[in-house]
């Protein structure tokens, strides 16, 4: 038995085998990119004279507009050149080529060119699409932040959906009751704030139930999440059909209106897109920055990540992993509850049955697509929101694209990402595993 330790020759052979594999993958990638470039150039031939008209509002929604006119063919030529160049660079430089960074340029070009080809010359207003993207992304990213904080602390959280649903219900009922109690002359903002607070509190309670089941009773965290998702549908449907349906005054909350940020909403082009959204958008942006800072730059964040990666090591140096997890779950409840409240207070104007409609799972997708990082997760939510928003635009303009295609995008992207087709992401190591504090 001399072959127990590999000799030097064996190791080098293995490394070069892996290297060959990577080189082959790089070559295939290069050829594929180059071929796609040729395909894009091919598309351009027939579309050279088709106009592509995009416009953006300069000062405010519905005000002056700034029109960009080009042709679909030119867009395809640009896309083809960039894609083809990426392929050639990949072939020349081999494995060292940072092709993932190039995707940031290549993918948007493909999206814009495809969009303009689908529109066939119909003018499209991008301010609406981009503003819609942001407002659709807000609840998804808040839900994703809830997922990130709990998974980073070591508790797998597939219950975002349930928490959002309960938050939506609580917000609507509490805001409506507040309006009834305060009377119609009262400031609706107070009622809205009461509704949001109620959503946050209900989110905390549901989150604590999840934490309690998985920490105290060591229930498998996936099962605990399923309990909450099924239970949330059951209890909110029950309340809606038994109580809210007959007493509609309990389900007519004041709605959250969009809020223009003073001064900066006057910025040309950017103002109408970024700073004329609902308060939820600003809240999301603030939370994103604060949360990313807390997670990566503070002692709290380090401890949180430690209890999600290696709780035994964290426990050994005296960190109270259990307390950290409970606290993380409380914050997760606040985020998910508020995300839910935006559905009933900002989007729909009342609570409807099953109104979360899978957004909690899209948030989970954003957690994974965003590699458990708040800023990337917001980016992921933007991508999903953009898909939704483009679909709305296309259906308004009467372009016949099956909505199911764009609707399934977040889910397919997530599968591709977890399967590591476009680079593997890795979640917190101890997420989903129970921890015994000695």
């Amino acid at each position: 038995m001399t072959a127990a330790t590999p000799t030097f020759e064996q190791v080098t052979v293995e490394v070069s085998a892996a290297g060959r594999k990577a080189l082959r993958a790089a070559r295939i990638r290069g050829v594929v990119f180059a071929a796609l470039g040729v395909v894009a150039l091919g598309f351009s031939v027939e579309a050279l004279s088709t106009p592509a008209v995009f416009s953006l509002w300069v000062d405010k929604q519905g005000g002056q507009s700034w029109v960009i006119t080009t042709t679909v063919g030119l867009l395809w030529i640009l896309t083809g050149i960039v894609t083809g160049l990426t392929g050639i660079l990949q072939l020349v430089r081999g494995t060292a080529f940072p092709w993932r960074r190039m995707l940031v340029v290549v993918l948007p070009l493909w999206i814009i060119a495809t969009l303009s080809a689908l529109l066939v010359g119909k003018p499209a207003n991008l301010t609406g699409v981009l503003g819609g993207t942001l407002s659709l992304a807000a609840p998804i990213s808040l839900g994703a932040f809830a997922g990130i904080i709990s998974e980073r602390s070591g508790i797998a959280n597939i219950a975002i959906e349930g928490k959002m649903l309960i938050g939506a219900c609580a917000a609507s009922v509490a805001a409506s009751v507040a309006m009834l109690v305060l009377g119609h002359d009262a400031n609706p903002t107070i009622a809205v704030l009461i509704g949001i607070t109620a959503a946050a509190i209900s989110g905390i309670l549901v989150s604590l139930l999840l934490a309690w089941l998985s920490i105290r009773w060591k229930v498998d965290q996936i099962i605990a999440g399923i309990v909450i998702n099924i239970g949330a549908i059951g209890i909110t449907n029950f309340l809606y059909l038994r109580v809210l349906g007959k007493n509609t005054q309990l389900n007519t909350p004041p709605t959250v209106e969009s809020l223009k940020v003073p001064v900066i909403s006057e910025f040309p082009v950017i103002g109408p897109i970024l700073f004329s959204g609902t308060p939820y958008l600003y809240f999301t942006l603030i939370v994103m920055v604060a949360f990313a800072y807390m997670l990566y730059r503070t002692r709290w964040g380090l401890r949180l990540r430690a209890s999600g990666e290696k709780p035994s090591a964290a426990g050994t140096v005296g960190i109270d992993v259990i307390a950290i997890r409970y606290r993380a779950m409380i914050i997760a409840g606040v985020f998910a509850g508020i995300a839910g409240s935006s559905l009933s207070l900002a989007s729909a104007g009342s609570f409807q049955m099953k109104m979360s409609a899978g957004r909690g799972f899209i948030a989970l997708a954003a957690v994974i697509f965003g590699a458990w990082n708040p800023i990337y997760a917001f980016g992921a939510a933007l991508v999903f929101g953009f898909a939704d928003s483009v679909q709305a635009l296309l259906s308004i303009l009467g372009v016949d694209v099956p909505p199911q295609l764009l609707n399934s995008l977040p889910y397919i992207v997530t599968i591709v990402v977890v399967a590591g087709v476009v680079g593997r992401v890795r979640g917190p190591a101890a997420s989903g595993q129970p921890y015994d504090q000695g």
């Binding site: 089941l213 009773w217 099924i230 449907n237 309340l239 989970l364 994974i368 599968i415 399967a419 593997r424």
Partner: protein
Amino acid sequence: MRRVGRALRPAVIPILAVITAFIVGSFFILITDFDNLSKLGKDPVGAITGALGTIGTAYYSMLIGALGDPAKLGAAISNPTPRAMAAAIRPITETLVASTPLIFAGLATAISFRSGVFNIGVEGQFVLGAFGATVAAILLKDQPMPLILLVSTIAGILTGAAWGWIPGFLKARTGAHEVITTIMLNYVAAQIVLFGLRSDLLRKEGSSEPISKVLSDFVRIPLIFNLPAIRLHWGFVVALLMAVVVSWFLFKTTKGYELRAAGFNLNAARYAGMSAGGAIVLAMTLSGALAGLGGSMEVLGTVPQMSNDISSGYGFNAIALALLAGNRPAGIVAASLLFGALRTGGGLMQVKTGIPLDLLFFIQALVIMFVAAPGLIRVLYRFDRTRGPGAEKVVEGGAA
């Protein structure tokens, strides 16, 4: 006597879990009973008895709705016309009809749990199985009926199996967690069905709803009783057969042993020379195939046509069933009959008392919770305190 006691021992926690869940459910009926509670100030006794009466009526009508009305049963015995017979046995046959998809979905979930993979995707596999069966049936609609029945059942099994194979393959090959991939695939499946049902090939003529052509016009699983309004078909018997087959497969064959070994300890199975990846793929594919079979039985036997809400949460109920039954096939059948009875009886409850059927989803969630946290039940009923929380592992193997 002791043997009986030992045989019933695994049923103690599930039974107490169900009872506790119903007690909590009653509490929610009570606090939302505004008609009676509004009288609390004037007539507290009347208000409380009235509210308790609502709960009593609710659960009693659930029982009658699920098993049958004794009065109609008596009428059928004294005057056995087909009409009276049908009226008497309709509730119980409806319970069996409702439990059929649950048995398939429950078996599908149990086979994956036993193998240590968490198939949350039974819902999608069920729906897509039904969709595959529908496509095959519509393509073959001019053929003789037995042929349509056979081919579309096989098509349903294959589509379900393929939809289960994807996450299994991804897990075995790339390590992609099956919980995430199956959740996402459930949504993709729903979108595929919506997309397909808008095509001219499948859509019912002149309908804007996502429903298919009426399949029962040209293909239907034969009924067991030829009585008016009785929908019980041979799919139920197939479900029972499948329980036997799954039980035999898991406990009497080498492959089944390998799956269970992988479920107990993937590494140990790997060191014993079994293919861990193979076990995962096989478990997911079989699970999907069972779900797909369930879907085809539903669309070919129970409902007249395919629609986007063909599964009213069967895949999620199945998780409750598998936990409740401890992943034992016989237990799945028993638990499915119970859940089928709840669904059918819940319908009458809704009609009689206005209490929404959706309460059952909440009760189900509570059942899963109590079964998954047996320590909670032990503390509530103060027995067996020697064992700590979590002494019993509910899902054998757990999430790998």
